[in-house]
């Protein structure tokens, strides 16, 4: 199966090569460079899609992780680092979401390059971020996982610091220092595991064999804090609203769409996978914090006056549901977390595209200055309404499954703690509806405000439709057919949860 290894490497090599080519093209060919970058992003998207091979599971290894395709070559033996990548049912949907969102963002940038720096530099950075995120999802070696985890930091810093809004410098610093804090703890956690187990191979480590209970507890605490910063889990979330508010549209889309998923994916694959006993020990704390995030996120959203900030805080709530699902450590809960991950990526990506479009048109994101969008720009208002309703978790749309089943999983755990958590989370979900209704009332309904009244009544631009249509379709498709995401996670999730002691 050598040829599949080539495709696997291509999903990482194409964007990396693309970034290099875009950076090296002559300075006056800005638009051409952006187009070339989009071409590479498209090629990477195709490469990631064709990796779909659920039938091949288990052909190569017989551990808890059975990659459909994998590649394993030594890189730095002195550091236990192997270039070991592979794709399976858990990582495949996230990988495709990453390549899809990067493609959409690159295409969007061809049409509209935000002010602040050169458009092609932005495309190059987006491609490097893609390498980091996709590499994190593909890595089957703990040290390699850490290396890719770190790759994302500085390019994202640059995207916020160069193309961001007025408070960009502060927001970018806060983002990079906070997330570096998380990833250095990841480094310590990774080598805590590697030093004790003598291997960094995730396929061998998953299940926690060979690690003492103490090691697992220490490792899980370190890893969980690391991923909680990235996800982000309340109370470690404060970098997120600033970063989202200041980042350019494409930066927010990538941040919310896939960068946060590195945290939840890491929690499932690495923290729970490598230290199941630690996970079982810490689950009540994790669950409580997750529910706190849901409630706090929703309440803060009710008081927000800025469009992007509101959507950013809604992410805190939605990721709370994902983390609650993981904290239950049941098959239902983890599957809910996986589909919640994808749904949040699709819907919040769309919401940030829309928020960017509204801000670009009205030159303000303050809710009090918006209003009556429905009258001036019915299409935009319509799509915003659709995205908001999807985000609320209406049955039939993508947001439903993750949130409903996280609550069901919590109730299914039984006992006073988990029952309370499930009930409170459900109430938090109702609050989500409240603040999105408030958002819609402020932005789309009522008389047109002065900022909105000056909008030209033109409908959506073609490139906008191109960028949004896949996300709208996916929000609907995943809502109607959750098997699109969950069809091939059964076995890996079963393998993960069976290692958790009860």
């Amino acid at each position: 199966m050598r040829e599949w290894s080539v495709v696997l490497v291509a999903t990482l090599a194409l964007p990396a090569l693309g970034a290099l080519v875009v950076a090296l093209l002559p300075g006056n060919a800005d638009r051409v460079a952006r187009l070339v970058g989009t071409g590479f992003a498209a090629a990477a998207f195709v490469a990631s899609v064709v990796l779909y091979r659920p039938g091949d599971a288990g052909r190569f290894t017989y551990g808890a992780i059975r990659p459909w395709h994998e590649l394993d070559v030594p890189w730095v033996p002195g550091l236990d680092l192997r270039f070991h990548i592979g794709v399976d049912g858990i990582s495949y949907p996230l990988l495709v979401l990453t390549t899809l969102l990067t493609l959409l963002c690159c295409a969007y940038t061809v049409w509209l390059a935000p002010a602040g720096g050169r458009g092609r530099t932005l495309v190059a950075l987006l491609l490097i971020i893609e390498v980091g995120i996709a590499g994190t999802f593909l890595a089957l070696d703990l040290v390699l996982f850490f290396v890719f985890f770190e790759v994302v930091l500085l390019p994202m810093y640059a995207v916020i610091a160069v193309w961001g809004g007025d408070g960009r410098r502060h927001a970018a610093r806060k983002f990079v220092l906070y997330t570096l804090f998380g990833s250095v703890l990841l480094l310590v956690g990774v080598f805590t595991v590697v030093a004790k187990a003598g291997t960094a191979d995730l396929t061998e480590l998953t299940g926690g064999d060979g690690l003492s209970r103490t090691t697992q507890l220490v490792a899980f605490v370190l890893l969980a804090i690391a991923f909680a910063v990235k996800s982000p889990l309340w109370p470690l979330h404060t970098w997120l609203p600033d970063a989202h508010t200041e980042a350019p549209t494409v930066g927010s889309v990538i941040l919310a769409g896939v960068l946060l998923k590195m945290g939840t994916y890491g929690l499932i694959r690495v923290a729970v996978g490598v230290a199941p006993e630690g996970a079982a020990w810490a689950a009540p704390v994790l669950g409580t914090l997750a529910v706190a995030a849901i409630v706090v996120g929703s309440l803060v959203c009710l008081a927000q006056t800025e469009l992007k900030r509101l959507i950013a805080y809604s992410s805190v709530g939605h990721m709370g549901f994902v983390l609650l699902g993981i904290a239950t450590l049941t098959a239902t809960g983890i599957e809910a977390a996986l589909i919640g991950n994808i749904a949040h990526g699709v819907i919040t990506g769309l919401l940030f595209f829309l928020a960017g479009a509204i801000k670009d048109r009205a030159h303000t994101g303050v809710l009090g200055e918006l209003g009556g969008l429905r009258e001036r720009s019915p299409w935009l208002a319509g799509v915003l309404g659709f995205a908001a309703i999807a985000s609320i978790g209406l049955p039939g749309l993508a947001g439903f499954w993750g949130e409903a089943f996280a609550v069901i999983a919590a109730l299914g755990r039984g006992g006073p703690l988990w029952t309370t958590l499930g009930v409170v989370a459900a109430i938090g979900g109702a609050l989500t509806a409240a603040y999105f209704m408030r958002l819609l009332r402020r932005v789309t309904h009522g008389p047109a405000s002065p900022a909105v009244a000056t909008l030209s009544p033109a409908s959506l631009a073609g490139p906008e439709l191109v960028a949004w249509a896949p996300l709208i379709v996916l929000a609907l498709a995943i809502g109607l057919i959750p098997a699109l995401v969950l069809g091939f996670v059964g076995d890996p999730v079963q393998a993960l949860t069976s290692a958790v002691p009860r």
């Binding site: 890189w75 730095v76 033996p77 002195g78 550091l79 236990d80 980091g132 040290v143 850490f146 290396v147 770190e150 790759v151 930091l153 500085l154 810093y157 610091a161 160069v162 410098r169 610093r173 990079v176 220092l177 570096l180 804090f181 250095v184 703890l185 480094l187 310590v188 080598f191 805590t192 590697v194 030093a195 220490v218």
Partner: protein, 506 residues
Amino acid sequence: MIDHVALLPAYLAAGTAVLVLLVDLLVSRRGATVAFTGLGAAATAVGAIAVARGGDRATFCTGDACSYLATSRAALVAVLFALLTLGVLGLSAPTLRSAGIPVGEYCFLLACSMTGGVVIGYAGDLVTLIVSLETLTLPLYILVGLRRTEVTSAEGAITFFVVSVVATSVTLLGAALLYASTGAVHLSLLRSAFAADASLVHEPLVQVAAALVVLGLAFKVAAVPFHAWAPTAYDGAPVPVAAYLSTASKLGGVIALLYVAIGPLPLEVAGPVLAVLAVATMTVGNLVALRQSRMVRLLAWSSVAQAGYILAPLGAAAFAAGRSSDALDLAVAATVAYAVFYVAMELGAFGSVVALRGSADGGAIEDYRGAARRTPWVGVTFLLALVGLAGLPPGLAGLFAKVTVVRSLLGGGAGWLAVIVALNAVVGLAYYLRVVYALYSAPDASLGADACVRSDSSSQPAVAPAFGFAGVPWAVAAALLLATGVAVVIGFAPQLVLDAANLAAP
């Protein structure tokens, strides 16, 4: 019977110094002097490799103990020093071209310093070690003070001189006390003395002696609390000399510490001292660097912090788990590997400063606003060096350096120290990013278009290079690209460094 083949690298290095002095006297042309210095340094590196290929040698022996050991790790040290000297010589081109700097003296002193550095690796007893370390440092007092029209330069030289002399006497006192209590100065004899008599470790005299030796050497690496000379000396010195101080001079201290602390000295005493030094050094260095507004001072404080990371793996020996021979091998290899990664990136950072500033001093960080937009390739080398020192991709060399240290600490059971190293990396990023932000931000409009980095050197008018690579003199460009190239290569293939570092394990 003296083995002159074993001594070849030392002869070559010392010969270079003498030759340079003669060439300057007889030919008296800048190009010739510089060329001979460079050739001498290259010959030293080649000589060291050639000797090492012939197997281990030793000379100046009394009984089994020898004062001069030509091993492969000694060759590694010699090659490192020779290459560093070459690199710094390349960076010195603008300084040497400016008025008031005597070329012959400069090259002679640099070659003398290199001689000391080369011999450190071959040292087999405490006396040779301390004398060679002093030979490395002594010429630097004068080099730091070479900018004769500047008060800061004299100030730096005096501070450096006084502190360094005190440090040397502290080390010598420690060595004397060691000799008094064990009767040995040879590293191998000290090792066997402590191995033979375990009760010796609990003698107060031995404990004081070991602590004094380690603390004296800590001055040389500018470890906190013996660091105060470094920012003053770096900022006062010509930038290439500051580069040499923060790479070669620091490397000399690290190697001396490695030679005495691992093996010859009882680790029960040296380990805790090193652990405390490491923690204090990285924390204080990083925190103070946050507040710096001058470029060279910021780099100086950052190099203080980096010394803390270099010492950290040895700090694992403070606990019994870190004193097993496996853990020690790991720690020594990690220290050497980090030092090599660090030296490549530090040279890149200082090289970028020289490329942007010419013969002027480092200036304020504000002066660098927009510099990367004017000279993009220097922007890239500076970015790679700074980000590498912060330990993040795309500076992969720095990332793997950090990984190596944390791995060895966790392998030695010193998880708490690993957490401190990790948290320090976060603080470090804050100030490295400040420089990067300045480099890539738009030039301040109020200063006008020509407020560029080069033109504000009112005291020393910058010499426009007659030829060069994108506005940077050839020698500087070559040294800078080489340093960056090395950093990139070892970033992608860190195994090269780790293999070399394993040579250094005891």
